[in-house]
C-alpha cells in the first residue's frame, strides 16, 4: 500500500518534491454527538457534507453499523471515512470467516481503529477524521472516540468538532446514568438544535442511531423545529435609530 520511497525521503515530505500526502480535508462532515443511556448508545449526526464553504452534499450518512455490535460515526473528511469503512468491512469479513460463534465487539474495533489512525499519523499521512464508536456486547456498553492523530478514550458522552464546544457543556450538566430512550433523544436533540443555530456547516437534516443488545436502528432523516421569532429580532434597532 503506497509508495516505498519513504526511506529516501525520510518522511519530511515537504523538503523533497515528488510525493505529497493529504494535507487538508476537502469534503467534510460536521459534528457527531453520542451518549450512553439505559439500554445502550444513542448517536446523532446531521447529513451534511461541506465542500469548503459550500454545502455540497445534503444526504450523507455519517453513521454506519459495524458488525453486529457497533455503530461508527465520523466527522471530517468523507473520503477517508469511506476508506475506513472499507477496512472495517474487511475486518468483519475476516471475523465471519472464522465462523467460531464469536464476533468483533466495540472494544476490539475501537482498538483496531486507534492503531490504524495512529500508524497513519506516524507516516505523516493521516486519515482526517474524528471517529465515534459506540456499541453493546454481552450487556456491556461502550462509547469511545478516536481522533485523526490517534488520541483515543472512552466516555459516557462524547462529541466531535464544534460539538465539543457547544454540546459537551449541555451534556456535562444534564447527562446522568440510566437515561430512558426518550430522555436520551430529547437531550441529543437539544444539542443538535444548538449546533444547528450556531455551526455554519450544520444542516437541518438529522439521523439518530440507537444500538442496544438487540441490534442497530438508524432513524430516517428528519428535521428539527427551530424558533426564529424573537420579538427583538424583528426590529432590533427600535429606539436606537441608526445602529444595527
Amino acid at each position: 500500500m503506497g509508495f516505498s520511497s519513504e526511506t529516501k525521503q525520510n518522511s519530511l515530505l515537504s523538503s523533497e518534491p515528488g510525493i505529497q500526502r493529504t494535507q487538508y480535508p476537502y469534503v467534510t462532515g460536521s459534528s457527531v454527538v453520542a451518549l450512553k443511556y439505559k439500554d445502550g448508545i444513542l448517536m446523532a449526526a446531521d447529513m451534511g457534507g461541506s465542500y469548503g464553504s459550500t454545502l455540497r452534499y445534503k444526504s450523507l450518512e455519517r453513521i454506519k453499523p459495524v458488525g453486529k455490535h457497533s455503530l461508527i460515526g465520523a466527522s471530517g473528511e468523507i473520503s477517508d471515512f469511506q476508506e475506513i469503512m472499507h477496512y472495517l468491512d474487511d475486518q468483519v469479513l475476516n471475523d465471519n470467516m472464522w465462523d467460531d460463534g464469536n464476533s468483533l465487539g466495540p472494544k476490539e474495533i475501537h482498538s483496531y481503529l486507534t492503531r490504524v489512525m495512529y500508524n497513519r499519523r506516524n507516516k505523516f499521512d493521516p486519515l482526517w477524521n474524528t471517529l465515534v464508536l459506540g456499541g453493546v456486547k454481552k450487556g456491556q456498553k461502550f462509547l469511545g472516540v478516536v481522533t485523526m492523530i490517534g488520541v483515543n478514550f472512552e466516555e459516557n458522552h462524547v462529541a466531535t468538532g464544534f460539538g465539543n464546544h457547544m454540546a459537551q457543556p449541555i451534556l456535562r450538566s444534564e447527562w446522568h446514568e440510566n437515561l430512558t430512550f426518550e430522555e436520551g433523544v430529547t437531550l441529543l436533540e437539544k444539542c443538535m438544535r444548538v449546533l444547528l443555530y450556531r455551526d455554519r456547516s450544520a444542516v437541518n437534516k438529522f439521523q439518530i442511531a440507537k444500538i442496544t443488545e438487540e441490534g442497530v436502528t438508524i432513524s430516517q432523516p428528519y428535521a428539527l423545529k427551530t424558533f426564529w421569532g424573537f420579538k427583538a429580532f424583528e426590529n432590533p434597532t427600535a429606539g436606537a435609530d441608526g445602529s444595527w
Partner: protein
Amino acid sequence: MSNNSCMDLPAKGGFSFDLCKRNAMLSQKGLKLPPFRKTGTTIVGLVFQDGVILGADTRATEGPIVCDKNCEKIHYMAPNIYCCGAGTAADTEAVTDMVSSQLQLHRYHTGRESRVVTALTLLKKHLFNYQGHVSAALVLGGVDCTGPHLHTIYPHGSTDTLPFATMGSGSLAAMSVFESKYKEGLSRDEGIKLVSEAVCSGIFNDLGSGSNVDVCVITKGHKEYLRNHMLPNPRTYVSERGYSFPKKTEVLMTKITPMKEKVEVTEGGDAMEE
C-alpha cells in the same frame, strides 16, 4: 519634509509605530514579548421583562497562569449603563473608563440621562479608529428612556443588537445554555438564574474562565451590582497542620511601645504643599 524634524518632537496622540522594526528584529533573534494580561473570559447579557442582566466570570489570565482570581469585568459606564469586557484587560479598562468619562461630560452638557446608543457609538468609533488593535470585545447593556438595550461590540468596531449575547473564550459554552433555554419575557429571578447558569457553563467548560460569577441587573431607574453572586469554586482544602516556619532568628528582648501617646493630633491643619 526630512525625517530629522519628525524625530525631535514626540507624536501628539495615537499609536506610534517607531519601535516596530526594532521589535521585529528582536523577535527574529528569539526574544519573546511578555504576554498581555488577557481576561480569557465568559461575559453574557440578556434582555428580560423589565430590563437587562449582565453576567461575567472573574478570572484574569496571563498566558497559562491565572493572575487574578477575582477581578471585576463588569465596568461602570453610567448610572443606567454597564459594560462587560473581554480581551486584553488594559484595553477593556481604558476604553470603558474613557467612554464613561465622555458620557459624564455629555450628561453635564445636555442635562439628561445617558442613552445606551451614545455609549455604543462612542465605543465603536474609538475601536474602529484603531482597526482592531485595541483588543476589547464588549457586551454593553443598559436601560434608558427608550427602553432596555443590549449590544455586543467587537474589537474591529462592528456591533450587534441582540436579545441575548455572549463574548469571550467561554462564549460558545455560555451560548449553548442560552440557545437551549432562553425565552422572551423572563422574570428577574429566572433571568438571573439563566445568566448564572450560562456563566457557570463557561467557568466549568472553558479553561480561560473560572472562579466566581458577577451579575448586574439594570432596570428603569434602578441597578443592582451583585458582585460575586455565586462562588462555585470555594477553597475547600485547608491544611490542618497550619504553617510551620522554622525559627531562624533568636528573640532576645520584646518591648512594646504604644505610639498613640507620643503623637499630637491636630484637627484641620494646612493643606498639603506641592
